[in-house]
Symmetry: C2
Subunit: 153 residues, 2 copies
């Protein structure tokens, strides 16, 4: 999974047209202010262990949100971040699960619909931590441990 996290003054979107893989939804427009916008591309490699990918993605997103002291999160599907995408079915499931779990831990969440062409407006705050990108894998814990070992040796 690829994430592009933008600390935003606002993000607003409006679905304009369906693609062949459009999610069935009534939420065709939305706006959030003072938010962390999480542009998200679910990748092929995420299909084999959705539960762990969702957990690792949420760990990262929540770490950034806490750091920025942000309580509003936009989950925005963004296929252009990867050239190795998961199936639309899995991508949709994972995005919906991310929304659900972020709400469960108390965030206000706006999720943009999957598979629609959308107009959007965003304002990125521009401070040094306002734009971050992350590659989320199933074995991040393992990798983190290895990196920790390396830097300690």
């Amino acid at each position: 999974m690829k994430l592009l996290l933008i600390h935003s003054d606002y993000l607003e979107f409006k679905a304009t047209e369906k693609t062949k893989i459009a999610e069935d939804t009534d939420r065709l427009e939305g706006k959030m202010e003072e938010c962390l916008t999480v542009f998200t591309a679910v990748e092929k490699g995420d299909e084999k262990n959705q539960e762990i990918i969702v957990k690792n993605a949420l760990d990262e997103i929540i770490k950034v949100a806490k750091n920025l002291k942000v309580n509003n999160i936009v989950v925005y599907p963004y296929a252009h971040l990867s050239s190795d995408l998961a199936s639309p079915k899995v991508a949709k499931e994972i995005l919906i699960e991310m929304e659900k779990r972020l709400k469960e831990v108390g965030y206000n969440v706006l999720r943009a619909p999957f598979g629609w062409y959308k107009s959007f407006k965003i304002s990125c705050k521009g401070h040094p931590l306002s734009e971050l990108s992350r590659k989320i894998t199933c074995d991040m814990k393992e990798r983190d441990e290895k990196e920790k070992e390396k830097s300690e040796s």
Copy 2:
């Protein structure tokens, strides 16, 4: 090179803070309307043949601009599109060359400064061709020929 091309109602930016690799420039803010915003990550593999990479990138950008009937182009450095970046020196040279060549063929070009933290606002139009991503390589012509052969066979 990775490109993310956004057909935009407007793009505006304001440099907020230097990074260690900041370009020396007086153009610290800018705005363009009715433009094609070209978020650009210059990659390691682009270093070996800058001339061809620039040519192939411009071919793609101009193709899209003509298709959208747009005469305003924003060249916006965007490292987050790649995890395999070129050296800052080469990236800067290539971005400056892209700006110069686009101006030479008649486009109005706004180039955002390299290596600065920047706030920005963008409005993406949202029609089906308003968001496109491209991987630019040195051997695109060759690849295009191969794909043509494949599709003809």
